[in-house]
């Protein structure tokens, strides 16, 4: 497999559809090591699907996904699980296990995979919780945390096994400005201090452009633009401008495709 040594994940000519609904026609992208790469696009475009394809939870119809030179979808189940120990995903809902407390949530993967004694696990968990500012909440149940704190706890869990890459699924969706600011800071810090590769999938334009090193914009089943945030802001692609500027109408129409308005009103019941 030919892979650029600077990139951790590469997607080659991938196509994916659910039933008859085509989600990706033919996309290729590469995610550089140690950088924050953002994937943006309007909602419903299948950004989460892209993360699941990278993580091997879904299988593409065509093309391939390389993780550090290994084709994710040609792996056996045990090879895939070995790869996943090097990856981590922060789910949109946090996906904390609701029947155990925050401490046990963070300790979960460590207890399962690391084989470390319990007192070392305790140190690691407290360190991870300290990093996200939730050491004081270790004994709380997930339901006792606010949405933003749940996501931070999930982030602590995601970094517990010290992965090489973290896939963030809509980390900013539904957050108040303060938790949003906290998350932006955490993502950037984790990437810089631990030299983590981060993939952020989001439609929050300003936050993403603020932290990303490189941005891909998805629309219409393909990548319509990519570049550094500065390049994207300067680009004059109308579809891109509409998305970044947040204009209601433009190349992405306000109306769902429909028959002629006047005709439909006048036609009456069939």
């Amino acid at each position: 497999m030919t892979q650029n040594p600077n990139s951790l994940v590469e997607i080659h000519n991938m196509a994916f559809s659910r039933g008859s609904h085509v989600i990706y026609e033919n996309i290729s992208l590469s995610i550089p090591k140690g950088k924050v790469t953002a994937i943006m696009g309007p909602s419903g475009i299948g950004k989460t699907t892209l993360l699941k394809l990278i993580a091997g939870q879904l299988t593409p119809d065509q093309g391939k996904v390389l993780f550090d030179g290994t084709d994710v979808h040609q792996c056996s189940r045990s090879q895939l699980f070995a790869l996943r120990k090097r990856m981590s995903m922060l789910f949109q809902s946090g996906a904390l296990f609701t029947d155990i407390n925050v401490f046990d949530n963070v300790a979960f993967a460590l207890r399962e995979h690391s084989g470390l004694p319990e007192d070392i696990i305790r140190h690691i968990v407290l360190m991870k919780l300290e990093a996200v500012g939730l050491r004081g909440a270790a004994k709380l149940m997930p339901s006792e945390l606010s949405g933003g704190m749940q996501r931070r706890a999930a982030l602590a869990r995601a970094i517990a096994l010290e992965p090489e890459i973290i896939l963030y699924d809509e980390p900013f969706a539904g957050q108040d400005p303060i938790s949003m600011g906290v998350l932006v800071k955490l993502i950037r810090e984790l990437s810089d201090t631990l030299n983590l590769t981060s993939v952020v999938v989001s439609h929050d334009v300003e936050e993403v452009l603020g932290i990303a090193d490189y941005v891909y914009v998805l629309a219409d089943k393909r990548i319509i633009a990519h570049g550094t945030p500065e390049e994207l802001r300067a680009a004059d692609n109308p579809q891109l401008k509409q998305f970044i500027g947040g204009e209601p109408d433009g190349p992405v129409p306000f109306h769902y495709p429909a028959a002629d308005y006047k005709k439909e009103l006048l036609s009456g019941l069939d």
Partner: protein, 261 residues
């Protein structure tokens, strides 16, 4: 065209059924075809035994007691007409051991534990907890499905035995304490007509098979739920309906095999 559509619909139904059976089989195989891990698996199993078994105990014991008492009362009224009210013991014991014990406890189990299993798994799926396990390189079939399956398979036969035992004592309360049948006659006729191999072993076989079917359906419905509120409520209903029908159908087949000839 109408006919063609009907045929197409039938075909689609059949294909869906085969796909569903295949998925359910794969799920079960993935969950139980592992070397058991005693150190990590046992706490998970104990927790599920608590949720599935212990929490179903109250409903099983109360229902068993009342069904035994009702059975005895109705049976007494009929038998006393023939002057054979001493046969109340075998009537109550045999109906409970052969049919009511395994079947009613399986139906109650489907309503109490099966629906809860489906709803729990559905919520875990819709809050991405199952995906999140996969991302941690932990097999959810092994971590989530397997302990629940074994807990169900262990719990239901025990619950059915408790149901039957307390039902027979319910019959004793009505027959002996209330209606005044001689206690010695009640028990001796009962004991001479109940047979270990024919009645008790078959009771255990029946309820073990019901346990597999009910737990399997509940887990399959939960694991393959459409992850939204409507999907979860549909899946929960389907669990109860399908496992009840499966239990009753299977019961007929088993009864025909065990007692038919």
């Amino acid at each position: 065209m109408g006919l063609i559509n009907q045929i197409a619909k039938l075909g689609r139904g059949a294909i869906d059924l085969v796909v569903g059976l295949g998925q359910a089989g794969m799920m079960l195989w993935g969950a139980i075809a592992h070397r058991p891990r005693f150190r990590k698996g046992t706490p998970l199993l104990i927790r599920q035994l608590y949720v599935i078994g212990v929490q179903s105990m109250v409903i099983i014991l109360v229902s068993g007691l009342f069904i035994g008492m009702v059975l005895a009362l109705q049976g007494y009224n009929i038998l006393v007409g023939f002057g054979t009210e001493e046969s109340l013991g075998p009537m109550v014991a045999l109906s409970l051991l052969r049919e009511l014990g395994p079947v009613v406890s399986a139906l109650l189990f489907a309503g109490r534990a099966g629906s809860a299993l489906t709803a729990e798994l559905g919520l875990m799926k819709s809050t991405e907890q199952l995906s999140s396990l996969e991302m941690m390189a932990i097999d959810p079939l092994r971590q989530i499905i397997a302990p629940r399956f074994w807990a169900g398979v262990i719990s239901l036969p025990l619950l059915a035995l408790m149901f039957t035992a307390i039902g027979i004592y319910g019959g004793h309360i009505v027959g002996v304490e209330w209606k005044g049948i001689d206690s010695g006659a009640f028990w001796s006729i009962l004991q001479s007509s109940v047979e270990w191999r024919q009645d008790i072993v078959n009771c255990i076989i029946k309820s073990s098979l019901f346990a597999v079917v009910v737990t399997w359906i509940a887990l399959y419905r939960g694991y393959h739920v459409v992850p939204n509120p409507e999907g979860i409520s549909r899946a929960t209903t389907q669990t109860v309906v399908q496992s009840s029908l499966a239990v009753l159908t299977l019961d007929f087949l088993l009864t025909a095999m065990m007692f038919g000839s």
